[in-house]
Symmetry: C2
Subunit: 453 residues, 2 copies
Amino acid sequence: MAGKPSIPKGTRDFSPNVLGKRNHIFDTIRSVYSLYGYMPIETPAMELMETLTGKYGDEGDKLLFRVLNSGDFLKGVEDDVLQQRAIQSMAPKIADKGLRYDLTIPFARYVVQHRNDITMPFKRYQLQPVWRADRPQKGRYREFFQCDADVIGSTSLTNELELIQMIDEVFSRLDVAVHIRVNNRKILYGVAEVAGLADQFYPFTIAIDKLDKIGVDGVAAELKSLGCREDMISRITQFVGMKGDNSEQMAAITSLVSESEIGMKGVDEMNELLQYHHLNGTRNALMVDITLARGLNYYTGTIFEVNATDVAMGSLCGGGRYDDLTGVFGMPGLSGVGISFGADRIYDVMEELQKFGAIDPIRPQVLLINFGGDDMIYSLNALFHLRKKGVASELYPDAAKIKKQMTYADARKIPFVVLAGEQERAKSCYTIKNMQSGEQQTVDLDGLVEMLS
Amino acid sequence: MAGKPSIPKGTRDFSPNVLGKRNHIFDTIRSVYSLYGYMPIETPAMELMETLTGKYGDEGDKLLFRVLNSGDFLKGVEDDVLQQRAIQSMAPKIADKGLRYDLTIPFARYVVQHRNDITMPFKRYQLQPVWRADRPQKGRYREFFQCDADVIGSTSLTNELELIQMIDEVFSRLDVAVHIRVNNRKILYGVAEVAGLADQFYPFTIAIDKLDKIGVDGVAAELKSLGCREDMISRITQFVGMKGDNSEQMAAITSLVSESEIGMKGVDEMNELLQYHHLNGTRNALMVDITLARGLNYYTGTIFEVNATDVAMGSLCGGGRYDDLTGVFGMPGLSGVGISFGADRIYDVMEELQKFGAIDPIRPQVLLINFGGDDMIYSLNALFHLRKKGVASELYPDAAKIKKQMTYADARKIPFVVLAGEQERAKSCYTIKNMQSGEQQTVDLDGLVEMLS
């Protein structure tokens, strides 16, 4: 092999230091999910292509990674398909499996497949990597982790409340200030309806969703091109950057959609959710935002999105309610609501805000210096004892020069080293050095355990 | 989509109950690895095919899962290759990435790629899934987890000792009795040498390795077909099922290979390792076994294999020393030694021995029954308080019939339910029911927290 080995673009190796910080994020999310009664599941990295295709729109389908069939992968491919290089009709024949693109569709597939073993409502969480053949760029990877929680089989808005509280709890524990924006797709539908765009609801939401990218004027232009009533365009865009607390927002929204039955259903849902939210509040602000749309077609009720207050970065968490996620797998009418944390973006925000300072690096507590021969045997006995007492510890494996061994302890940020040569051995004691202060002490084995525990 | 959705053959979904038990195994391995000073890394699921191919033998190459290139995957494929359906030369062109097959080659690639950021000796562990296009059968999956620990950059036999102690510690914590078999590839080479098979060392080890499958007579026949000296065949096969402790085994081995310099080097290494082992011993027996070969070509020194004492099952853990794993990536002469636990087989053994009894199922501690309206609000306040105190808890989201809610608590094995209706609300108290004993008590909010903490 020529040159240094490498990995596919858009993928990453995680070194111990980075992994320590990432695991802090995962552990936090996992423990909050558990606290709220959610249960973990895991699904395979590969799904059948028939499970994946057609679920993420045409753009999504193009971003699916397909896995080549084993053996003679050309078996089912006709000659003319080969000759014409018809990759569209060839792909499904040579690759019937693909890597999962998100955790939502595998969850829907799981629920339908295991319906007889599941007690509804089913609260599940799932922390696993997903793969997308996106063009890699800063903050966008081809392999990244999603951290999802969903509850399926219940329409109660206490579920939405719970998800908001979980978001608040996770970011509080991570010490990252966020604002949690909330909207309801029924309200958006009501707006579309009064704007004369009911039959173009999906393009309407896509236009609204582009606000961050194309600004108010851009959205206004898109609405106009969809055929939006002129007077409604300004009534809609007035909500951009609208000041005022949630009750003022709700008053304005109510007046906007008052003539839409579905819109008013959305207003009722939002008011009920806000009422529950008032019972206990959240440390991070919950903000009603009618300009929040979420591009995904399957949302039908409450939708959420979370942004860092102090760092410009895409959303750190998002989600919403869907009324029929499992219908596509033959189990219609099951309502659910869920959220997904983007661990990679949260990591980047925490790095930028220097929030990892308090996380202990992953490393043993002590290194025993190796002087070889009987001295090594003497140190080995201390090592066995320390580990038995639960102290993460190691002996430098070779009797290398002390300087080299000390450099190793330094590089790995090991806080203590133990030196035990002939002198120590004669007195049945150990010299322990604090690597930060340089302070040295001579103690017996029990003292050593005590200092390091 | 017609019929029930499913997943690719050889892959699995993991439900909360199974995951609870699996995580117990992973957590145990992870905490033992940490205790011994090993550091976690993670590598991407996809590696470049040039990293993977040629590392696992011809058979292994066939079992690699390839990932189809995105976009026009036929771009680099010539017409005649298509016409001739030349899948061998086509595959590398349409799929330049593949799923990792084990954790050893990605680790070697990682070490070489990040050589400037790594302090040697480097002790790493890695718990991640791997993928093999093997024919699925009982206990053999296409996606399964490996749990590896390796130390690279040190030739000291204290590393081998440490790995043996880690194996012993993991199985002790899991309460699974095992025997740890140990051999040295240099001893095997010595045997091959005195048997006149030095130039056929690899086929020789493959023959020995088949002992479990083809028995003593089968091995004898294979050795004969390799051209093994007649008198040596019986001298080699006498070791099968040989009784006697490690020092008796070593005496017999020493006499067998005494004329091979490399063989005697292996004997010296084994004796040194046994000397270290005697310092502290292990709870599970360490057994010298000259018939242990391990098929993999890259092992050059000590080799290990672990089997359950009370269940007939393939090896639960294996490993060994390699002198030149990174050479293939342009970094020769780096010696390392490692082990790999097979979590799936350990799971099966523990199920068979019913060793999961003491593992708490994953579920919240308490379910608050939902009576709707003001009663629900009253229960919500208790829920907020319980969670703030760290009690994993949930409110049934809908005001369904009590029977349905109790059935839900039963099905999820939630140990306590809280009932708070108008009566409780009037007295600012809660009725808590132990689901196992059926016992009920009425307590205030503090009492509730206390009972559930």
